[in-house]
């Protein structure tokens, strides 16, 4: 503590005393206490003296020391409230244009804020229905190979879950899960495709999904047990049949239905139609003789959730887990996997992770959206502040009279705050209407949004909306209220020139500049995002996707489907593949060349011999795969240029015939293809290979040679339905999927564009208000100038010059800011990106200038055109 405060009594005690004590006795009472304090500091020490001071202050809280007029004061302000309300409403009604600008501007800004509040509350409600949700955590993996950047996964290895169960104390329950329990459930002649999760027996101890029938603690112990949701059970079983303990066939195995749970609620990040016991997975894998099931790197599809016992801290568990990962990592030279616990309540809003088991909206996106929305409401608030300050010149006399009659500073202050709150509550009503209009558009922005969000407006939200409106009113009205309450009655009444009273009015200009800078940044951002989107769609991926239709086989036999479509004349070529490339999903495996220590990830797709010619990939050396019978062991691979460069194999021609080690299989390089973009174009090109593994062919690709695409699609669909009535016909054109894959750009530019439009509208409204106001106040000056011979043109220039300068300043700030922001922050990591051109940067400026000029020009022109005889007549 500083030396000075050693001689100071406690500040808060002093404040308290000053607050409650009558002014007549405050001074000497405080003096007495000070004297005592000083004495005590010397005799008893600083600490003790401060304590005594506090006690004394509290002891002096007696009837005779307390301010007497407190209650009276409250009554007057209550009575005055009616008056404030009345004057506020009158003042709002008198200045219709300004009030309309204020209400409308605030309403537009508030509507997106209400959307944000609804969104935020809904996302926050996710997973809260679990009992003790605050104690449920998930193990996330951080995977790092060599010196590459670490990757973050929501998934973990099975062994991590097992060791957690065995070795870590303080865990109430934990569950290991695995996604991709998929199959057709057969009962009698009914075939229903179902999907779900494998989950170990403690599932219902960790999560609180509602079990309707069956024993939750034993339901998932036995292999080939399945738990169905009520919805799924109703699909499979006829009404009236008790599904419990029935046997159904899934993937040609008999499963026993051991429990029925309620369908997971909408606000659960985990969604499933069925749960199979984890023992099922283990038995399936042992039949397939998969030795890697307990592998440390088998971490792509498994999940581990736990509920901590009361009193266990995350730190304790993390420490134990760190020990486990250290032990396991020692077995690997180049791979390092770390654990991180993530609270279940944080999954929806947390960081973006790969391999999510369920929904996640991603915290970053949410915060960016919140920030943008905040900027919009800020702009609307500025409008109110600006116009109110401008108008306050007119209200100064009213304030003067009130002060003369006896109003205190606090009363004037509350009067103007109340006025602002009335405006903001009007706006709230309008904003709510706008929200109802906006909501469906927002939900339809992207399919994922529709899946994860409902945006139901609960009654509770209205309270938040109302509080929010009050807050907006308070903040927007704060500055004008301070300004007006500070006015001195004598000055106002004497008619000291207004400029003197409001010397700080430069603030208005600053606010205008900020508003327009923000609008400009928004517009520029939207146009850059749009360009990037167009660029991504028009990008040359290195192969041809036109008129290629992908159909998911969904478990059907490849050859049967193939023969089905070969019969259709519009289909010119047919090939098979594992998955669609360039749209975001990637399949990876481990690859080595001659050095057994040097491994990296190989991204791959399995294809048949027709794929490469059909998609027009360019072979640089070697040959395509040859057609061969199904059972033959996989032994060949076609790699891209990047792979042979990575391992220094030599030229493409030299690489032919060399062997690569992929997932412990020796594969001979039979061809080298030119590099192409198998991932999204924002990612770079790494090692990639085409493999020929018939087991992994899940898609059939058709090249359509017809101008009537819709008709052909219909034909294909009806052929499918005849062939497989159980599964839906799942077909997408490559180009459509690409467009979807880059939807985040499109969502971004739609959102930002919309917000840009809003800020633009709000800022223009503000500008309009200011222009009207300036023209109004200077109408006499203009008339005199006109009488003295000024031309209309020169008058417009005179009035508009100031505003146009502000716009120029905004542009000078916004353009470099937006450029820097996109160039070095947002697009920095993207490998392929559109250049930011002058068009995007200056287009926005042009728009703002045009709108600004029209707004200001129209008002000043009106003022300049006015007949001086009319305006100067009445004085």
């Amino acid at each position: 503590m500083s030396n000075k405060s050693a001689h100071q009594p406690p500040r808060w005690a002093d404040r308290f005393l000053e607050w409650y004590c009558r002014s007549e006795i405050l001074e000497d009472l405080q003096g007495d206490l000070y004297e005592h304090f000083e004495r005590n500091t010397i005799s008893k020490g600083k600490r003790k003296a401060r304590q005594i001071y506090w006690l004394d202050v509290l002891k002096f809280f007696r009837p005779y020391t307390i301010k007497k007029f407190k209650i009276v004061n409250n009554i007057t302000s209550f009575i005055m409230f009616k008056n404030y309300f009345k004057t506020s409403v009158r003042s709002i009604a008198r200045n219709k244009l300004f009030s309309a600008i204020n209400v409308f501007g605030l309403a537009v800004g508030m509507s997106v804020c209400l959307l944000m509040i609804t969104l935020f509350m809904e996302v926050r409600s996710y997973d809260r229905f679990h009992k003790d949700a605050d104690r449920i955590y998930r193990i996330n993996n951080i995977y790092q190979s060599l010196d590459e950047d670490p990757n973050y996964f929501a998934s973990t290895s099975i062994i991590a879950g097992k060791r957690l169960q065995e070795e870590v104390p303080g865990i109430e329950a934990s569950v290991i899960m695995r996604r991709n329990f998929v199959g057709d459930a057969t009962l009698g002649d009914k075939i229903i495709p179902i999907s779900g999760i494998y989950a170990s027996d403690d599932f219902f101890d960790v999560f609180s999904f509602k079990v309707l029938q069956g024993n939750p603690s034993t339901a998932l112990i036995e292999p080939y047990s399945v738990v169905l949701t009520d919805e799924t059970a109703a699909k499979i079983f006829d009404a009236g049949v008790d599904p419990l303990n029935q046997i159904i066939k899934i993937k040609d195995k008999d499963f026993k239905v051991t429990a029925i749970v309620e369908k997971p609620p909408f606000n659960s990040h985990l969604k499933f139609q069925s749960l199979a016991s984890f023992a099922t997975h283990e038995s399936e894998e042992s039949q397939r003789e998969n030795s890697n099931i307990m592998g440390w790197t088998n971490m792509w599809m498994n999940y581990c959730y736990m509920k901590l016992a009361e009193g266990t801290t995350v730190k304790q568990v993390n420490e134990r887990l760190a020990k486990i990962s250290e032990e396991e990592n020692q077995k690997f030279d180049r791979i390092n996997i770390q654990f991180a616990l993530q609270p279940i309540l944080n999954i929806m809003t947390g960081p973006d992770l790969s391999n999510q088991i369920g929904d996640s909206i991603g915290g970053e996106g949410l915060w960016v959206f919140a920030l943008l929305v905040f900027v919009v409401i800020l702009s609307a608030g500025f409008n109110y502040t600006n116009l109110s300050i401008a108008r306050s010149l007119r209200r100064a006399k009213e304030v003067g009279v009130r002060k003369v009659v006896g109003a205190t500073k606090g009363q004037i202050f509350s009067q103007f705050i109340i006025e602002a709150c009335i405006i903001s509550i009007f706006s709230l009503v309008l904003a709510y209407g706008l929200l109802l209009v906006l909501k469906p558009y927002f939900l339809n922005l992207a399919p994922e949004i529709q899946q994860t969000l409902h945006l139901d407006i609960e009654p509770k939200l209205f309270i938040y909306f109302f509080l929010f409106a009050l807050l907006v009113g308070l903040l927007a009205g704060l500055f004008p209220a301070i300004l007006l309450s500070k006015l001195k009655a004598a000055q106002v009444m004497k008619g000291v020139s207004n400029t003197k009273l409001f010397s700080k009015i430069n603030l208005r200009k600053v606010l205008l500049v900020i508003q327009f800078t923000l609008s400009l940044v928004f517009i520029i951002s939207a146009s850059i995002a749009f360009k990037q989107y167009k660029y991504a769609l028009a990008f040359d991926l290195g192969y041809k996707t036109e008129n290629v239709l992908n159909i998911e086989l969904q478990g059907n036999d490849v050859d049967q489907v193939k023969s089905l479509y070969e019969a259709i004349p519009e289909v010119s070529e047919i090939s098979e593949s594992s998955h669609m490339l360039s749209v975001g999903s990637r399949w990876g495996s481990d690859i080595k060349y001659e050095d057994p220590m040097d491994s990296t990830s190989l991204w791959y797709a399995s294809i048949d011999e027709n794929y490469i010619p059909m998609m027009k990939h360019k072979l640089l050396a070697g040959n395509n795969f040859e057609a061969r019978p199904l059972q033959k062991e996989e032994g060949e691979i076609i790699v891209n240029e990047a792979t042979i460069k990575r391992f220094n194999v030599g030229t493409p021609d030299e690489a032919i015939g060399k062997y690569l080690n992929v997932d412990d299989k020796k594969l001979r390089i039979i061809g080298v293809i030119e590099d192409f973009h198998y991932a999204k174009i924002s990612d770079g090109i790494e090692c990639f290979g085409f493999r020929y593994d018939p087991i992994e062919l899940y898609n059939i690709n058709l090249k359509i040679a017809s101008t009537d695409l819709i008709g052909t699609m219909k034909k294909l669909e009806s052929a499918w339905i005849d062939f497989d009535p159980v599964h839906e016909f799942k077909a997408t054109f490559y180009d459509d999927r690409l467009q979807e894959a880059y939807a985040d750009y499109s969502v971004m530019f739609t959102l930002v564009g919309f917000l840009a439009f809003l800020t633009m509208t709000i800022a223009s409204l503000g500008l309009l208000g200011m222009a009207v106001y300036t023209a109004e106040t200077r109408v006499k000056e203009i008339s005199i100038r006109k009488v003295l011979g000024a031309t209309e043109g020169s008058l417009v220039t005179l009035l508009a010059k100031g505003f146009m300068w502000l716009l120029v300043i905004s542009a000078a700030i916004a353009v470099p800011l937006a450029y820097y922001f996109f160039d070095s922050v947002i697009l920095q990591d993207a490998v392929n990106r559109a250049n930011i051109g002058a068009l995007e940067l200056l287009g926005g400026v042009l728009i703002i200038f045009t709108i600004g000029f029209i707004t200001i020009g129209s008002q000043t022109w009106k003022a300049a055109k006015a007949n001086p005889a009319e305006t100067l007549r009445n004085e």
């Binding site: 003096g31 007495d32 206490l33 000070y34 000083e38 004394d56």
Partner: protein, 110 residues
């Protein structure tokens, strides 16, 4: 108001004000009483008594000059009013009368 009765402590405070003459402000009064009666006196008690005496019209108060001590706060000096003096006199004469009625030997015991 409870009339013009003077409580025991009120009387002590009033007398102390009279003895301190122009230096009678709350802290000094407190100290003086402590010195004479040899008992602990709380500032809060003295304060409320002073307040009561002022209400009853036995003392007047005035703020003094500002000084550097006491955080720059002024002291409130008290003086006994005419009514105060009269009451003190009355109390004293009542006591004296009682004293005079006491037989002499009773007090020699002490």
């Amino acid at each position: 108001m409870k009339g013009t009765n003077l409580g025991e402590f009120e009387e002590v405070v009033l007398l102390t004000i009279a003895t301190l003459m122009t230096e009678a402000y709350s802290v000094a009064i407190c100290d003086e009483i402590e010195r004479i009666t040899d008992r602990k006196v709380k500032l809060g008690v003295v304060h409320s008594v002073l307040n009561r005496l002022e209400e009853k019209g036995f003392v007047n108060s005035q703020l003094g000059e500002a000084t550097k001590v006491r955080g720059g706060r002024r002291k409130r000096f008290f003086e006994v009013t005419h009514a105060g003096k009269a009451t003190l006199q009355k109390v004293k004469s009542q006591r004296d009368e009682l004293w005079n009625l006491i037989p002499e030997f009773n007090l020699k015991m002490i």
